[in-house]
């Protein structure tokens, strides 16, 4: 690495340094999984999928496919009987006995080309006996619904997931706090409403791709576009009965994931094929259409809210009943519904709470992690209900939010006492940016204009003991190599880690390189790149590793100089002594050590720092009441507001401006924090206005960008104000906590509130498409 003299950024934490991954990305030089060349031995995989949402598999005939020249072989559920899953082991590599959603993998084919594999798929005949599908989560939870997983009672799961055997309920999370029935009688205003939030897709620009190879000696290597190399190693090795050390995952840069590349999804298929057809790498790529309906979706939600306040507008009680449309398998989704449960109040202080967060198997696509992990869906219901309640009690929504938002020291619905949070300042910043007090006139006679605000909170959703680790290796040219197991997914984590390491060590940011790709053989362990947890958790590990390296450097110099390490410091890559004012460049010592006086030998040697981090304080929650000492590690909180105009002639919503404010504890890189706020808002806006999987009888009718519309640059407001609030996280590196997911969380509710302000209409089933808005205006007599 060449470091020019004029680009030495010391103490980079809190500075918007240039990202360390941009050059290779904008020039096209960056290597993604599909770019890796495997030579002429590469085989290709395609999959025969279920056309039915729910059916018994009576017969599979792949004899014609095997006769097609170029076909190497097939695999079915019979080859791989083991169950796999992150939080609930409920799915197989290929369907066994029955199919549970349209698009489920039934037969895998390996051939010399992708085209031959695809042609072979068309030659496979599968005979089905159709079963009645479950297409609604509320019905699915009822005793009348056909069972999708009759064996649910036998599935493995950790102790914080609560499946109900002989039902379609794969997790039922409850909170019972205070006395909700008594509280209703104290309420001056009560709002009771049902909201329906559709399935949406992640649509990363890079579709899923994975290549697997099994050596003759049983060693398996998986190259994948993944957020979770270590989780994939753990889950797949266990399901295949091989030691984790024989399973290696290499994870190059990733072209977006937003949660759909977390855990194990389609990677299981090439791995399974490689286990059966050893010795050659096997590649599997999803088409964009498959990306839409065969992979994780953000599950749909039916949320029934009853919320009340006293005559001053103080919240008294909340009843929140959520039916999550978990899809055919809920191995990951059960934890989304748990997160929706323990955070079910939203960032509001409510003394009496009854929550039932119910994860329901349906014959819809498989629900999983999606940026926000349940929070956007939850807030779409809760925050709209709050906006309705504010209107009913006659309070301005901003005043209502400020009056009721959580503050440090509040006892949350789970019994956890929340840390210091800056959400009130976030609300004030957003209101100020939108000139909340001023009612602007519409820009034209055919327009209606309004403003809306909504809040957000989210905690990292993860097992209590999700850990991180890091290595900091000192190089003889004065640079530092940081090894981590967390993934650069576009969020800029490699940049943030370099900043943290540079700050903790005392070297310029430009001298720190973060090594990729992530390789489970060489990279230190990281649970997963999810949950907005890397800056905080991996950042702690990197900081600890850097401090370890720093101590080792100082100990060597102290010994060589006969000084106390306490009198030494590292500044700008030099060890300095405050006592003697001597200094030495670290590059002269971190590999080769320092000579003792009079040629009397050597001190030190190559320096490597190691660090790790794992929260130790998260406790379990009672199965019946949801009460416990500390449900989560922390919450990131914030607010968002929009000003919109509604075109009365078309129903189209135009967002004129937006404001986002979040309490991130400490912004390691303020520009990157702002980018998250802008990007998250735009993704949230997209789901507010355009996005939804149109599922009819289990079939997605719009599985392509032609008919699954996402926001383009033209659909985004020119003005997005962002505000960084910093109430330090007590156990965060330099006080930081995460921001990756949160800005998407309040967007639908904010737009809904603005729509109400503009039109007086509540549309409670996003997306708020032009058609839906126009027809609502028509029904209400606001247009002819």
């Amino acid at each position: 690495m060449v470091v020019a003299q004029n680009t030495r950024t010391n103490n980079p934490v809190g500075k918007s340094v240039a990202r360390n991954d941009v050059l290779e990305k904008v020039t096209g030089g960056a290597t993604y999984t599909d770019d890796i060349q495997f030579g002429p031995g590469l085989l290709h995989c395609r999959v025969k999928r279920s056309p039915h949402p729910h059916a018994l598999i009576k017969k599979i005939d792949y004899s014609k496919a095997l006769k097609l020249p170029g076909v190497k072989g097939v695999a079915t559920g019979d080859d791989f009987p083991d169950l796999i899953g992150l939080y609930l082991k409920d799915r197989c590599f290929f369907a066994r006995g029955k199919v549970r959603f349209v698009g489920e993998a039934v037969v895998g084919v390996v051939a010399t080309t992708e085209e031959i594999a695809e042609a072979a798929v068309d030659l496979i005949d599968v005979e089905y006996e159709l079963l009645t599908p479950v297409l609604d989560p509320e019905f699915g939870a009822s005793p009348e619904a056909p069972l999708i997983h009759p064996d649910l009672g036998n599935y493995d799961h950790p102790n914080f997931i609560f499946p109900v055997a002989n039902s379609n309920i794969s997790n039922h999370f409850k909170i019972r706090k205070g006395d909700i029935e008594a509280a209703w009688t104290q309420c001056a205003a009560i709002v009771e409403h049902t909201f329906r939030i559709p399935h949406v897709q992640h649509v990363p620009i890079e579709p899923h791709v994975a290549v697997a190879k099994c050596e003759d000696n049983g060693q398996v290597t998986l190259w994948a576009s993944t957020q979770s190399p270590f989780a994939q190693r753990a889950l797949l090795a266990k399901a295949l009965h091989i030691p984790e050390s024989d399973f290696r995952v290499i994870a190059p840069l990733i072209g977006g994931g937003f949660g759909c590349k977390a855990g194990v999804t389609m990677e299981a298929i090439p791995v399974a094929m490689a286990m059966k057809y050893k010795g050659q790498p096997i590649k599997f790529r999803l088409t964009r259409e498959e990306e839409f309906y065969t992979n994780f979706v953000r599950q749909g939600l039916v949320i029934k809210i009853k919320v009340g306040c006293d005559k001053e507008g103080n919240l008294l009680a909340l009843q929140n009943r959520m039916y999550w449309d978990g899809g055919a398998y809920t191995e990951y989704g059960v934890n989304v519904t748990r997160a929706g449960g323990y955070s079910s109040t939203g960032p509001y202080d409510i003394p009496n709470v009854a929550t039932d967060s119910i994860c329901v198997y349906t014959n819809h696509p498989v629900g999983g992690a999606y940026r926000g992990f349940g929070m956007a869906e939850l807030h779409t219901g809760v925050d709209q209900a709050m906006d309705m309640l504010a209107a009913k009690i006659g309070l301005d929504p901003v005043e209502f939010h400020k009056k009721n938002c959580v503050q440090g020291g509040d006892v949350l619905a789970t019994g956890m006492v929340i840390h210091d949070v800056g959400i009130k300042e976030c609300i004030e910043k957003v209101a100020q940016a939108l000139d909340w007090e001023i009612k602007d006139k519409p820009s034209a006679p055919n327009k209606l204009r309004g403003k809306g605000v909504a809040l957000a909170w989210k905690a990292p959703a993860m097992p209590p003991n999700a850990g991180s680790s890091a290595l900091v290796k000192m190089n003889s040219d004065g640079t530092v190599t940081v090894s981590v197991g967390g993934q650069e997914i576009g969020q800029g984590t490699f940049t943030a880690m370099a900043q943290i390491a540079a700050e903790a060590l005392g070297v310029p940011y430009e001298n720190v390189k973060v090594s990729g790709p992530i390789d489970t053989r060489y990279s230190p362990y990281e649970w997963q790149t999810v949950a907005s947890r890397l800056t905080w958790s991996m950042g702690n590990a990197v900081r600890n590793a850097a401090l370890d390296a720093r101590k080792k450097v100082l100990d060597v110099v102290a010994e060589a100089w006969g000084e106390d390490a306490k009198d030494l410091d590292i500044k700008d890559g030099y060890v300095i002594s405050y006592k003697t004012e001597e200094s030495v460049s670290i590059k002269d010592i971190v590999v080769y050590g320092l000579p003792k006086p009079n040629d009397g030998g050597w001190i030190g040697g190559p320096i490597v720092g190691a660090g790790s981090f794992m929260p130790s304080y998260v406790t379990g929650l009672d199965a019946e009441t949801g009460q416990g000492n500390r449900a989560v590690v922390h919450y990131t909180t914030g607010a968002q507001g929009v000003e919109i105009e509604v075109d009365k002639e078309t129903g189209r919503i135009e967002v004129l401006r937006a404001a986002c404010a979040f309490d991130v504890g400490k912004a390691i890189n303020p520009d990157m924090v702002r980018q998250q706020m802008e990007g998250g808002f735009i993704q949230g806006l997209s789901s507010a206005l355009f996005e939804g999987c149109q599922l009819v009888d289990g079939v997605m009718r719009n599985p392509s960008f032609v008919d699954y519309r996402i926001a383009t640059a033209a659909d985004v407001p020119a003005e997005i104000d962002t505000f960084i609030i910093e109430h330090a996280q007590d156990d965060g590196p330099f006080g930081a906590r995460g921001i990756g997911e949160h800005p998407l969380v309040p967007s639908i509710a904010a737009v809904a509130a603005a729509l109400y302000d503009a039109t007086g209409l509540r549309i409670t089933n996003p997306p708020f498409s032009a058609e839906k808005v126009y027809l609502a205006l028509l029904e209400a007599g606001l247009v002819e």
């Binding site: 395609r46 056309p51 349209v102 080309t113 992708e114 085209e115 031959i116 695809e118 042609a119 798929v121 068309d122 790529r285 088409t287 964009r288 259409e289 498959e290 002639e649 078309t650 189209r652 206005l689 355009f690 149109q694 079939v699 997605m700 009718r701 719009n702 599985p703 392509s704 032609v706 008919d707 519309r709 996402i710 926001a711 383009t712 640059a713 033209a714 659909d715 498409s769 032009a770 058609e771 126009y774 027809l775 028509l778």
Partner: protein, 300 residues
């Protein structure tokens, strides 16, 4: 659900004939299993989606002048079949004399796609949603076709038979579209409603065109074409007759928009409901007519 291929199916063969005659003969000899193509922006997608099972894709770009735009102030404009939309929209004669055509081009998909997509392809594809078809019809476009019996002209009014169906027969290759000089003092508008602002297919598209004409009782003539609300790109003769006969004011323009509403027969589909589409035909037709009227009225 159609099973989308990861790439083109492996049975597809690309054919590049050296002349129109050769192309036409090949298409006749392989009728039913071959298609001519230009920018291929629709064709590749349909092949990949498994909607078309065509075996031979016959590349008819660059044959006998299909890459040229020519403008003659005495005769009009001729756009070769293979000229991409970006080139059309940037052509000085198009901008000066046929701005409606340029406006329609701007609404097609994305800039990147328009560097391949062609107007003639858009016309021959005969999608009721085709963005440039309305403008081409209202500007009295005539398609030049080379077929097994040589050249012939196909006026666009009457050319469309149904979604994807036209007067073209196997062996026919559209080589250009020509437009006469438009009437003096004209103005046109294309208003496209998509689900989002950029790159969508039209839920509803309204093309309107008007000009002063002393031979009309009202002193003006208007032409209206509607996209995505009927099996074919739809003209609205009743509204056009009304606007030629009745003295024009806001109420008459609204009446014409109402006639457009009544004449269209949209369907419910994944992009929008018939009910919404009809309403939008009325509102957007009115807006387009009001806008044009403000520009062409002589007392303005």
């Amino acid at each position: 659900m159609n099973n989308a291929h990861p790439g083109l199916p492996d049975f597809v063969e690309y054919v590049k004939p050296a002349s129109l005659e050769e192309a036409s003969k090949f298409l006749v000899a392989h009728a039913g299993e071959s298609r001519p193509f230009l920018g291929a922006t629709d064709c590749i997608v349909r092949m990949r989606d498994g909607i078309w099972k065509t075996k031979y894709l016959v590349d008819v770009k660059g044959l006998d002048g299909t890459n040229q735009i020519t403008f003659d102030p005495a005769v009009g404009l001729t756009i070769g079949a293979a000229v991409p939309m970006n080139k059309v929209a940037a052509h000085p004669a198009v901008i000066k004399h046929y701005p409606l055509l340029a406006e329609a081009c701007h609404w097609v998909a994305s800039y990147q796609l328009r560097s391949r997509a062609t107007i003639v392809g858009n016309i021959c594809n005969a999608s009721p949603a085709g963005d440039t078809i309305g403008a081409s019809m209202l500007l009295e476009g005539v398609l030049r076709v080379f077929g097994p019996d040589g050249y012939r002209d196909e006026p666009l009014n009457g050319f469309f038979k149904g979604p994807g169906r036209t007067n073209l027969k196997p062996g026919d290759i559209a080589v250009s579209v020509s437009f006469p000089l438009p009437p003096q003092g004209n103005s046109g508008r294309y208003i496209k409603l998509g689900r989002n602002k950029l790159g969508d297919l039209a839920i509803v598209g309204v093309t309107a065109f008007g000009y002063p004409d002393s031979s009309a009782a009202s002193g003006y003539r208007f032409r209206i074409a509607l996209a995505s609300v009927a099996p074919i790109p739809l003209r609205v003769p009743k509204a056009e007759e009304l606007l030629a006969s009745k003295p024009i004011d806001e109420a008459v323009l609204a009446e014409a928009a109402q006639l457009a509403y009544e004449s269209c027969t949209p369907i419910d589909d994944v992009r929008g409901s018939a009910r919404y589409r009809k309403q939008m035909v009325r509102n957007l037709t009115r807006n387009a007519l009001v806008d044009i009227w403000s520009k062409i009225r002589k007392d303005a």
